[in-house]
């Protein structure tokens, strides 16, 4: 199968390409960008006139809910959402049921995800058995089964000695450790940022110290062990400052931020909107501003959808009882574009955060249009807008604080390994 994508505005930041050019695909790989290879006979031509052609998006946190939570979402529904969102590679956290702590589970997930329309799945293995924070998992075996890193999803390892050992063991094989920084004691019973809005609404607060105290532990153990750590979903300005100074001190630490945290803050809880119940909590406006800036200047390495589809039953309850999480795969691109336009960043500076930078964190060859690499491509219309509604979302999770928003950036085509996985050209 040979595909010719013509007249598109190619933005491939990794290779410094930002111009109108044609892309040629053969045998599932990028054959050429900008010139037609000799004797190229396209089986199919995609007219990308007026559209942006960029590497398929790489999402560092997308819960597929399989195995165990099929009533929330299934591989089929979430992979349809990924393709519709232009996401061609994704990392899934280990918080399935059972958690991804055994090679057999990882193999099964990889096997089930093998479908031409499905994004490449990179499982994050559990760092400890059952995510319980007591015993180490068989990390090397899990890596052979397909895990690219090890983490605890949204749970913490309480016992700092276990955490130290986990870092040492991961460092033995140079496996990255991915952790969310939140001290479970300081966050206990908390449902919102410990600030003015929580005070007003009478919600139990989660102080910024829940993040910074956990970060201090993680960063110091990383220093001690030389483990490569990646902090998921940083939420506060002070937390970000800690990571920046740790990095300056030679600690191998990277971090990402969830797309909600760039656009929303504690005020968006409004009148107890359960859609704004997220983990970590939406923090103060000053935190949001620092995260927006940090992502722009590279202090934050990557942006993720933090896709967490939840069913309606657990959202149509009082705020504090609602399950945290929001659907995100289909919003990653438009919300990235919204951030870029508000920060006055060109696509060439914004898109790396959801393509090549994210792929670098994952340690996989994705997020570029380099000749010879897999033809994972997103073709989108940067001007076309979409009003987000339950009906437009392909994810089984219909809950997002952005319902009703009109957002620019509609995916027209998604190609995975040179296969047309999504065709939104008629929408």
């Amino acid at each position: 199968m040979k595909i010719h994508i013509k007249n598109g505005h190619v933005v491939d930041p990794f290779n410094g390409i930002d111009r109108i050019a044609d892309v040629f695909i053969a045998a599932g790989r990028i054959a050429a960008v900008g010139y037609e290879p000799a004797g190229f006979q396209a089986n199919s031509v995609i007219d990308a006139n007026g559209l942006v052609v960029c590497p398929g998006l790489v999402d560092l946190a997308a819960r597929l809910r399989e195995p165990g939570f099929e009533y929330k979402a299934t591989l089929d529904s979430e992979m349809a959402a990924a393709a519709a969102g232009g996401v061609t590679s994704l990392a899934c956290p280990p918080d399935t049921d059972p958690p991804l702590d055994e090679p057999g589970l990882v193999q099964m997930l990889k096997y089930r995800a093998r479908h031409p329309n499905f994004a490449h799945v990179f499982p994050i293995g559990a760092l400890t058995v059952k995510l319980a924070g007591e015993r180490l998992t068989e990390m090397a075996e899990l890596a052979e089964a397909g895990c690219v890193a090890f983490g605890q999803a949204n749970t913490a390892v309480l016992d700092t000695q276990v955490l130290l050992r986990a870092f040492q063991y991961a460092a033995t094989f140079d496996f990255p450790v991915w952790l969310q920084a939140q001290d479970p004691y300081l966050a206990r019973a908390g449902v919102a940022h410990d600030g003015e809005v929580a005070a007003r609404l009478g919600l139990t607060g989660i102080p910024v110290a829940a993040e910074t105290v956990a970060l201090a532990t993680i960063l110091q153990l990383a220093r001690e062990t030389g483990a490569r750590v990646h902090i998921n979903r940083i939420s506060s300005r002070i937390g970000l400052e800690m990571i920046v100074s740790a990095r300056a001190a030679g600690i191998a630490a990277t971090c990402d931020v969830g797309v909600h945290y760039l656009h929303l803050c504690e005020n968006d809880v409004g009148y107890f909107d359960p859609h704004a119940r997220l983990d970590p909590p939406l923090r103060a406006q000053s935190d949001r501003d620092a995260l927006r800036q940090g992502l722009a200047d590279g202090s934050i390495d990557a942006l993720c959808s933090d896709h967490a589809p939840v069913d309606d039953d657990v959202k149509q309850v009082p705020f504090a009882e609602a399950e945290p999480g929001a659907t995100g795969l289909e919003l990653l691109l438009p919300l990235t574009l919204k951030w870029a336009s508000e920060m006055k960043l060109p696509l060439s500076r914004a898109l790396p955060r959801i393509t090549s930078d994210a792929a670098r964190i994952l340690g996989v060859p994705a997020g570029t249009l380099s000749v010879g690499s897999a033809a994972d491509i997103c073709v989108f219309d940067p001007q076309a807008t979409l009003r987000i509604s339950r009906e437009t979302l392909k994810s089984q999770g219909k809950n997002t604080p952005f319902i009703g928003y009109e957002l620019a950036g509609r995916v027209r085509y998604t190609l995975i390994d040179g296969h047309l996985a999504y065709d939104g050209s008629w929408d």
């Binding site: 003015e196 005070a199 919600l203 607060g205 009148y271 107890f272 009082p318 504090a320 319902i403």
Partner: protein, 322 residues
């Protein structure tokens, strides 16, 4: 997103539900207090009934135990000739059954006209009001009778009625709210009511473990020392300290709390000579308030209860009319 519109006001800015005092215009609060005034006399008549809610069904929907508040709502509704149905719904986590909205749907199907809701979760009455609006049943009125730590608007209003009764004017008062502000829905409603009615200085007094982060953003002055906080105040509003807060990481002991934050006669002497002392009840004598104060000449705690019925009658009749 929730709509930016305050869900308790209708499109014309009128009162549709009573969910919180925050954001209520001063005129609305004053109208409620004015409406309540003649109702205080009804209780002194031989026939204590008015026909304002005749034929209406009021459901007292209590997901959290309460005797006092439920009783006063019941009396208020009955004096307005409503049919009152009391439901005490146990929602301990071990007996998870029907969801909150399923319960609401079932009761709405029984032709309820008004829900009086108490719930342990902040915001639960909002969820109910939004659900009724989303399902085209917003003719059913919702009154928040206390939700989690968030609001207890009728308590806040009856407190304002009491202050107005004794002090006449709000705009020259200094008011102190003392005790467990962090967990108190009463305190939050009082703060919003007092600031809206133009009280120039609202103080909160308590140890740092019992004050919410950023509480000063609600427009109050924070005091950790009770003696300096009480100096020159016109009104002292005491709060109940829940048993479960007393021994643990929030407070070391009842004795120490009483010594530093309990209202005693000698501490009360720092307030103005004509200061009034209020308490939402039920009181913990010897924990937050000394009996000598509770039973003394400054206390207006029992009139608060009496006024509470009139204020709840006012709220119910206004909502039924709107």
């Amino acid at each position: 997103m929730n709509s930016a519109r305050n869900p308790q006001l209708n499109r014309d800015g009128g009162l549709q539900h009573l969910l919180t005092i925050e954001g209520l215009p001063r005129e609305v609060i004053t109208a409620i207090l004015d409406t309540a005034a003649p109702f205080t006399e009804v209780a002194e008549r031989e026939v204590k009934k008015l026909p304002l809610l005749r034929g209406k069904s009021v459901f007292n929907l209590f997901f959290e135990n309460s005797t006092r508040t439920r009783t006063t709502f019941e009396i208020a509704a009955k004096r307005l000739s409503a049919d009152v149905i009391n439901l005490n719904i146990n929602t301990s986590s071990t007996t998870k059954g029907e969801t909150l909205l399923d319960t609401v749907d079932n009761l709405a199907a029984m032709q309820a006209d008004m829900f009086v809701v108490r719930h342990a979760s902040s915001g639960a009455p909002y969820l109910i009001a939004q659900h009724l609006a989303a399902t085209g049943r917003d003719h059913i009125r919702v009154i928040n009778a206390g939700d989690g730590r968030h609001a207890h608007p009728t308590q806040g209003l009856l407190d304002m009625y009491t202050i107005r009764h004794y002090k006449k004017d709000f705009t020259n008062l200094t008011v102190a709210i003392v005790g467990d502000i962090l967990h108190s829905r009463v305190a939050r409603s009082q703060i919003h009511a007092l600031t809206t009615l133009g009280v120039p200085e609202v103080r909160v007094i308590g140890p740092k473990t019992l004050l919410p982060t950023d509480v000063e953003r609600l427009g109050v002055r924070v005091f950790n020392d009770m003696r300096s906080g009480l100096r020159g105040v016109d009104v002292v509003m005491m709060l109940r300290l829940q048993n479960e807060r007393m021994n643990g990481a929030l407070l070391p002991s009842t004795q120490e709390f009483f010594k530093y934050y309990g209202l005693t006669l000698d501490k009360l002497e720092l307030a103005k000579p004509d200061a009034i002392v209020m308490h939402p009840g039920p009181m913990n004598r010897g924990v937050e308030i000394d009996s000598a104060v509770a039973d003394g000449p400054h206390a207006v705690i029992l009139p608060q209860v009496t006024f509470g019925i009139a204020v709840r009658m006012a709220v119910m009749s206004m909502l039924a009319r709107s």
